[in-house]
Symmetry: C2
Subunit: 334 residues, 2 copies
DNA sequence: TTGAAAGCGCTAACAA
DNA sequence: TTGTTAGCGCTTTCAA
């Protein structure tokens, strides 16, 4: 077997030789510095800097069977909620010496399985999935991988752990918000993903229960866009009537609906009350600022990270389910 | 040495034993199927499925010295341009069997070094960096890693390869766009990151050259927000005068500026012409739709991926610099 | 086309 | 506290 070493590769043995210690001592300086005398550590560290040694985590991971990597699958990052979530998740992991590895499923459930397989090949120490609905093959692979799993942004019975909220309950709450204010005609625009549809379901069910009239409930392609909100509102115009109430599954749809309504002379909130979802900056800083449902996405990321870390550090063994609260933020559109 | 094997771990040796072949043959079925007879491949594949074998890429990577992973560092994903870029980059890599590993530098240059070190520890086969300015330590590490490097979203002399555009030239072009339309009073709102500042520099220089009056050029915190655009416009109000022209380093700033201007009775574009940057959906779908500068972010991702892949596959050895065009999209705000 | 041997660079386990 | 030995699970290399 010839020399298979790559160019420029300083290895732990090189550092050890230069410092006059065993490779294992170098490893300890890096990973468990308190098991080494201060003198030794200082000497080794100097050599590490001098040689520009960057430990090979691939080799370390193979040996220790810990990759210090946590896989995360979210539908998209083109959405402020997932952006905030990923930021906070990453940050929380970083503090504990773990790195997040992100993959996007693009709202295509069939793609999740393929992604999970690819990610498990890299032997993550844990995995984060969005939503609580997963295929049988995915569940099977996760069970065999025997790693902590946290599902987020949803409610239900988790594979392992879950931190999220109840989308149907949000739909119900928004319907009640409008009902209390005397609305009798309702519409809902929702993207075609499982969670947006759950919000729509809750909204429609509560409206029906109260004897309200549902004047429209179109499903738009995920991910949501402003243009889709405008188009849906345009189609709704003929049914609008007086004092209608509209719930949109995304602030982008809500913004589009408001822009289009005003372009057609419909007063918001006088002629049409609008509530979005997601609490994007757009909703607070546009004119009129509009009502929306806020969920602490960053908190979900932090909670998910700390649940996984607790499990990895052996602090927690039980299943955990964390329900994160939501809140309707009232602004000028209702 | 005891058994260090984890629970549920099916290894290549297990598959080989069950299929009655050598481990190496299983490896060939997975990685180079054309070097194996169809019969053998079919037999082995059946066992792989039956046992639910997921190859350990960590072990494979250590042995082959190829991780099939490409690291990417971008400032943020809370920005449609980087979102589009990451999507297209990931997709292009996936087709070639590579996976992207994303890290966020958060517009903090000093953090890049730390990220690069952490990422290099995982031995990526190549790396993508945003911008063309990097610290000495970073450059040193990259040189020693001896892997292909592509820098994006900027112009200049690359470490290795580059695909981007000239930010100063964009500022100049926008200034000329306004000059041609007879504006004599100018303002520019820019985020405090290197590239936004370069656009601002180009704009201000061209305005000065033409003898125009610069009535304001505030720097706002990165990443840009709608609220920052509103605040900056409010501060600018006293200097506004007639037919001023405003260039914003982000469409979010531009949107905020327009909202605030209208709230104060300033007509857009009559009293103030506004041009953004980034071509977010917001600019096309809000009312009034506003003028912006568009750059094909998705194309940058694709080009970057294909340059790296070409290098990895030994197709290309030379340095590559790709300039991606930009274009001013004229809408109702100018 | 298939197999056997060797080792990628690191750390767990045990010994001193 | 430090060192030695034996792998982690795979692929390279070489041989049949």
């Amino acid at each position: 077997m010839g020399n298979r070493r790559g160019a420029g590769g300083v290895r732990i043995a090189d550092v050890a030789a230069a410092a006059g210690v065993a490779p294992m001592t170098v490893s300890r300086v890096i990973n468990t510095p308190d098991r080494v005398t201060a003198d030794t550590a200082a000497k080794v560290r100097a050599v590490i800097v001098r040689l520009g040694y960057v430990p090979n985590l691939i080799a370390g991971g193979l040996s220790s069977r810990r990759s210090r990597m946590i896989a995360a699958i979210v539908p998209t990052i083109a959405h402020p909620m997932f952006t905030a979530l990923f930021d906070s998740f990453t940050e929380a992991l970083r503090g504990a010496g773990y790195q997040a590895m992100l993959s996007l499923s693009g709202y295509a459930p069939e793609r999740e399985e393929e992604l999970v397989r690819a990610l498990l090949g890299r032997r993550p120490d844990a995995i984060l999935l969005t939503g609580a609905e997963h295929g049988a093959a995915t569940r099977q692979m996760l069970a065999e991988a025997a790693i902590p799993v946290v599902e987020i942004f949803d409610a239900g019975k988790p594979i392992d752990m879950l931190v999220g909220f109840d989308h149907e309950a949000i739909g119900v709450a928004v319907a009640e918000y409008f009902l209390v204010r005397g609305h009798a005609r309702f519409a809902v625009f929702a993207a075609g993903d499982a969670r947006a549809l759950a919000r729509r379901r809750g909204f429609a069910a509560r409206v029906a229960l109260a004897g309200g009239v549902l004047i429209g409930d179109p499903i738009v392609a995920a991910p949501s866009t402003i243009a889709a909100g405008r188009a849906a509102l345009r189609a709704l115009l003929p049914m609008l009537g007086e004092r209608a109430a509209l719930f949109c599954s995304s602030d982008l749809l809500a913004f589009g609906a408001i822009v289009e309504a005003r372009a057609h002379g419909v007063d918001v909130p006088g002629g049409l009350g609008v509530c979005g979802f997601g609490d994007f900056e757009l909703g607070a800083a546009s004119e009129p600022a509009f009502t929306t449902v806020t969920v602490e996405a960053a908190r979900i990321g932090r909670e998910a990270a700390s649940m996984l870390l607790a499990r990895l550090q052996g602090t927690a063994v039980e299943r955990g389910v964390v329900q994160v609260p939501f809140r309707i933020v009232e602004r000028a559109s209702t």
